[in-house]
Structure formats: C-alpha cells, structure tokens
C-alpha cells in the first residue's frame, strides 16, 4: 500500500479531535476536556490550598484583590483503534481495499502524532488484532495489506470480543459496510460502555444503494451463498430505496443517541477526499 508523499504530508498536518475522551494516563498531544497543563488557556477558578502558585493570575488579583488560578487544557495521548470489517461482502466493489486505505490514512495520522494505534480485523468474530502501541508506518501498512476478505459478518460478536481484550480505551474507528443481519447495537454499545469514543465509517458502493433495474434476476449473497429470485421492477427498487434510507436513518439516530460519530462513504468518492475533505469538514480531524 503506497501513498504519495504529498498526501502523506497533508496527513501529517492532521490530528484527531477527541472531544469526549474522558481520561488518559499519559500526556499526549491531544486536547482533552480534562483541564491540564498545556499552553492553551481554557478557564479560571478560585484558588484553593495546594494549587500551584505558578498558575495564579496576579493581574486579576491586582484588579479584584481575589486569587484566581488559570486553567489550561490538558494535553493527553489518544489511542486509536482501527477495527476493519473483512467479511466477504467487503470484497465486493473493492470495498475492503477502500476501507484499508482509509484505515491506513487514519493510522498514519495517529502515528505521525506519536499516538498509540491498535488494529482489529473482524468477520463473524474478531479474527486478528494488534494491541495499541507506537508503531512505524511500514508495520501499519504491511499489516493492513495482509488483510483478506471472507466469511460472514458478525459485528456484535466481533466488537464485544474486542472490548473483552481490555485494551486501553481511545478512539475506536469502525470501518464496515454494516450489512449485518445480526445488527450492530450490542457491539457498538459495548465499546461505548467500555470507554471508547466511537467513529463509524460505513463503506458502500453506489450500486448497493441504487441497484439498476434488470428484470428477472437471481441474487446470490457473497457471504452465505443465499439466493433470491425476483423481478427487479421499479416497484421493488422503490421499496429497496425506502429500506436503504430507513437503515441509514436508523444508524444515524443510533449514533446520535449514543454520542457516536457516523460517516457514510461510497467507493466512488476518492478516499483522499474522504480524509482531507469530508472528515475535516465533519470535524473528525483537524
């Protein structure tokens, strides 16, 4: 997997916005809602015994004869967990390749900020994972390049299995088509309740959203080889669109309800644009 140098330079300028990361045991380069000792002023509060005298704002004391302590945003490290769906459905329309590129780019951003990254590949269950740690770019790319698609999707089991690994929580980026009859709720909530901040990236192809009418067809599922005979009429396509929209809305509402970030990408959009444009516009990256 090769990124051009210009793209890599652009990636180096980006870093994650971990808005709701609650705690981190190590100092890092990411701002946190936890008040810390970075150079970035955030607020004042009354002086209390034991506070560091260096942070008393003497100018305010002179004007108001009252002691206030300046608070600074805490600079914390943000572990990034890249969880990639490698089920057989991801092989269609090169969705897995697209997902790997996004994962590689996001991993590269993390590495360039000295963040720890962990990687997990899942199908019916978690099939492989790398614990969070500081890695080099080659390790990351090599690992991702080795991923193969196959088997059915099991989002719930896979994500629950990942939380059971007791990794240090951070930002969990789940890249999948989310086409799982078993659902996603339990898996995502287990991540959430384990302290992860969750970013969902749904990767689909345009034909999956808007199939082309084709008369009598026999559909064959790539994952379980299930078949279905139908006449791909406009009436059925209309019903299909309604189901797709309803599912997207359901996923959006779920992520909103549980304070997760959700982003949907189609493979027609160049993945560079996803990283440099859409994720920045969505304030997932800065």
């Amino acid at each position: 997997m090769v990124f051009d140098s210009e793209f890599l330079q652009k990636l180096e300028q980006l870093h994650y916005i971990a808005r709701r990361l609650k705690r981190s045991l190590q100092r890092g380069e990411h701002r946190s809602i936890k008040k810390g000792t970075s150079q970035e002023f955030q607020d004042f509060r009354d002086y209390q015994v034991g506070d560091d005298m260096r942070y008393i704002d003497w100018n305010v004391y002179l004007r108001q004869n009252q002691l206030f302590v300046k608070l600074f945003a805490a600079e914390q490290e943000l572990p990034v967990h890249l969880l990639i769906d490698t089920s057989a459905s991801m092989a269609m329309f090169d969705k897995l390749d697209y997902a790997m590129k996004i994962a590689a780019a996001l991993g590269f951003i993390a590495l360039s900020r000295q963040d720890h990254i962990g990687i997990g590949a899942f199908r019916q269950n978690l099939v492989d994972s790398l614990p969070p740690g500081r890695r080099n770019r080659d390790q990351l790319f090599r690992y991702l390049s080795a991923l193969q698609a196959g088997g059915e999707t099991g989002l719930n089991d896979s994500l629950k299995a990942y939380t059971l690994l007791k990794r240090r929580p951070g930002l969990a980026v789940i890249i999948s088509d989310f086409l799982d009859e078993g659902g996603y709720r339990e898996g995502l909530l287990s991540l959430k309740y384990s302290g992860y901040e969750v970013l969902l990236i749904q990767v689909l192809h345009a034909e999956e959203i808007s199939p082309i009418p084709g008369g009598n067809i026999q559909l064959v599922d790539t994952e379980d080889a299930g078949t279905m005979f139908l006449n791909l009429s406009r009436r059925i396509l209309y019903a299909y669109h309604k189901e797709v929209d309803a599912y997207f809305k359901e996923l959006e509402e779920f992520s909103m309800d549980y304070q997760m970030e959700y982003f949907r990408a189609t493979t027609e959009i160049p993945f560079e644009d996803i990283i440099l444009q859409y994720l920045r516009e969505g304030q997932y990256l800065r």
């Binding site: 057989a88 459905s89 991801m90 092989a91 269609m92 329309f93 969705k95 999707t153 088509d177 086409l179 799982d180 009859e181 192809h205 999956e208 084709g214 008369g215 009598n216 067809i217 026999q218 559909l219 064959v220 599922d221 790539t222 994952e223 299930g226 279905m228 005979f229 139908l230 006449n231 009429s233 009436r235 059925i236 019903a239 299909y240 189901e243 797709v244 599912y247």
Partner: protein, 573 residues
Amino acid sequence: MTFASPIFLLLLPLLLIILLIHLFRQRSTILEVSSLFFWNRVMGPRKRIILQIIRNLILLLQLLAALFLIFSLARPLVENTSTGLQGRQVMIIDGSASMLATSGSESRFRNALELARAEIRKLSGSLSIILAGAEPQPLIAYTESKGDLRDALQNLDATQGPADMDAALKMARELGAEGITIISDGAFSATLPENARVLFVEGQSENVGITGFSVREGDNGLWQIYCEISNFSSITQIGTLTITLEGKPFRSFEYSLPSGARDSFSSYYEGLEGGRLVAEISSEDDFFIDNRAYELLQAGPSISILLVSPGNFFLESLLRVDSDVQLTWAEEYREGNWDMVILDRSRANTGSLPSLNIASPPEGFGILGQGAPGSIVSWDRNHPILDGTSLADLVTSQSYPIENADGIRHLISGTNGNLLSIYETPGKKFAYLAFPLESSSLVLDTNFPILMKNILTWLVPEAGRSSAYKAGERLPTEQGTLISPIGDQAWRNEPVYAEFTGFYRFLSKTGKRSFFPVSLNSRSESNLNFSIPAVEAEVAVTNAEQTRSPVWSWFLSAVILLLLAEWWLWGKE
C-alpha cells in the same frame, strides 16, 4: 356440457406454449451481491412466499384464460335446467312414421326418447306421457317418480302411420295439464295451446318413397295399377320400381327423379287370379317405411253418389270416369240409397247423409258474405283430404266462406276467408268448398282429381275405396282375430288403427278370411325435411338445441375477468 364447434378444442395444446413461456421467464440472470441484507428487508420470507404464490396464480390465471377462450370458441352448450318441468305436465311424444327416419345412427324416435329422458331428469313436478299415433296412447298417468316415467319409455317405438296431434293435445287438455311438452320432428300441423312448447329432434334426412299405390278395375275389365314415387332428397334418385304379385315379379320400371320431383307409373294386369301386390323401390335412404307399398287385386265395393247440381261439366266428367263411383245426377235432392250427396250451389236437408257442399253451405250453417277474388294463404297439408295436393297456386274469383261454428274446421284459408272447411259430429259429416268450381283454377289443375278423391274417401271411408289402407287408418275389424304384419295376433271387437305397413290378416268370427293391405302412401310423412315455422308462429317454440343453452359468453366474460385479475396480480408482483 357439450360443444357446438368441438374442432376448436384442438387448440388445447397451445396451453403448453404458455407453460413453456412461463418456464422460460423463470430462467433469470444471476447477479452476485455483497449481501442480501436490504433485499431480505424488501422481500422478507413472507413476501417471497406471497410472490411465489402470485407467480403461480398468474400462470394459473393465464392457463385458465386460454382454456376458457378455447372453450368459448368451441361454443359450449349446457343443459338448460331452468326450464325444468313443474306442476302437472303432459309430454306428448310424436309416434308418427316420419319419426322412424334415421338422423345419423339413431332414428328420430330414439333421439326423441333421449330428449324425453333429459326432460324427466329435470322434472320437478308430476308428468304424464302420451304417445301420439293414429290415436293417442297414454303411456303413464301423472307421477313424480322418474323411475316409473323412464320405465314407461322402455321398448317404445313409433308407429308406421301419421300421428293425430290434435287428438293427443285434446287428451292432454282433458288430463288437466298445466303445461304440455311436445317432442317431435315437426311433422304435424295442429293449433298449439298457450301452455305448449315443442322440442324438435333433428329434422334433415334424405328420402325417396312410394307416395301412392292403388289398384282399380278399369272400364275395359282390366286391373289398372297406379304407383307414384316422390323424391324428397337433395339429389337425383335413380332406381327400379318392382311390382310383385304373390311374391312373383311381373312389372318393373326404371325411374330417375331429380330432387323434389315425383313421377307416376301405371300398368294393366290382364290375369284372372287376384292376390297380394307389393310395390318396392330399390333405395338406400333414411326412411324405409315408404320403400314398399301394398295392395290387393280384388273387387271392392263402389260408392253411390247423388250429384245435385244445375250442371257442372268438370265435376261430372271427373266422377263419371271413376269406376268406383256410381253417379246419379239430379237438379234437386231426393232421398235414396246414396252413400253420400254432392250439393253443388244448392241447399237441402240431407239428414245424416255425408255431403260435399259446394258454394252453398248445408242447412243450418250461414255464410260470412261473398268474398272477392283471392288466393291461398295457408292450408293444413297434413289432413288426409289435402294429402298429396299442392294448392299454393289456387285462385278463386268469388267465394262464400262459411261462418264459424262448433265442430267446423278450416283446412284451406284464402285472402278472402276460408275456402275449404269440414264438419264432423256423430250425426253429421260434410265438407264445404266455399267457391264455385268453375270460378276457380282448381278444375284445370292436376290436384282436382286428387282433392275430390280424398274428399270422397274422407266422407265415405268404407265404400267405394280402393282395397288399400293407409297406415293410421281404421281397419274394419269387428269381431274377429287380427294378425298384424309383424305377427301380433289379437281378438278385436271393433275397428282398430293400422299401426304397421304390410298385410293385415283378419279372421272374422264367421270364419271369413280377408286381407287389409296397409301402406304409408303419404307425401307429408315421406317428406322428412320439415320446416319448423310450419308450427303456429305465435307459440313459443323450443327446439332441441335451445334446451341446451349456449354459454360461450360466460366463458368469454370469465376470460376478461381472468385477464383483469392477472393484470392486477402482475402489478402486485
């Protein structure tokens, strides 16, 4: 259910084409998708089952629509159950000789019995059955038992003579029938009551037959043998007429008759001995009864007639050449030992003596005034008086139609009233010609001698007649044993109707032996191609086909409904 055009049923294999098209449509292209996730939501298991049912239903509807379309083309007929007989019903089955004609493989009479059985199946009231022959024969009294009614039709056959439908209808009325069903080939002429309906059996048949065969003693002492053959078939008939005496052929004639034509053959017999004469034609037609005729070479009684007339050249000439007639002319009526009297333009009280009245009705009957010149409108062609005549071209310059009265029956109707009427009660019998003979075209017509002979025979059946009898006539068989042509033997106390053609043998109680030759000799019975409108037009007529209602429109409507349903289901699919 039967089909009027079953040839269209050959289209039934086309249903296979629909089946093949359906199977071909099932051959869909295979499309690999990443997941059936969304498709399962659109087409859940329940929907898929419904879809499969709809598809099968569409195929079923298409097949049914095609099947019904083929059925509608084949013009299906179903038995009309709505006309089931209700209440007290009488069924009259025509047992005339023409019913013995074959239509296809079965005789008309067999077809009539089938029709009768079909009516019995639909019966919802009580039914009595009458066989109409020379005299009506009640077969079974009113009963609701369909089994008994069917039994009454067992071993039944038509007679070999004409049927008196008037008498059968009269019997039905006397039985208090609420409805009358006549099953016939149409060879009858009767005024049908309002509650009567007619079921016709198949009517078209080919026939050539002997319509006249008689022997008389000529003035020269020789026997004159006369035979008439009529061709009622649609093609020219060629054959041989053979006359045998006591089984030995002594005359034969070749005949060639175009369709609709008739020809007569005559010969003399110079022998001394008498005997049984049989005329036979070689014909393979649909009606065998009239292929043979029977006569006797024996002297018969002559008829004594008093002609009361101011002078009538044609009538006198005709009667004088008839060797069977002993004619006495008078200007006024006088009593005597007459068999009958002819009153030409004169009136007289003749008592119970049979009479032919010409242009002046008998005492006690009036006229409706003088009619202007006119022509014939209709005539009762099945009455014995008009048998063998064709009076369509008869014109009269004046007429004196008789007033209607009880017992009067009009046989010929003209534009200016009735031209020939008859009257018959136990004490009186006459025929009335309403026009002077010399003021009509009749006297110049070949029908004139036939008509007059028929009138004389009707007025005085026992006297002056040929020794031959027509089937259906009464044989003078008082107190003796009668053996029919088919060998039935029975003691008789009174005259009986001749039901079969051939020679009847009669042994009187005094030991005298005599033969009665019985022939059909009837153009009306030999002509098998009757036109149904011969029956009174205002009477509701139901023919055999009408008892099976055509239901093609039902099937066509079903096709439209099926196609609409299929179109609707197609949209659902």
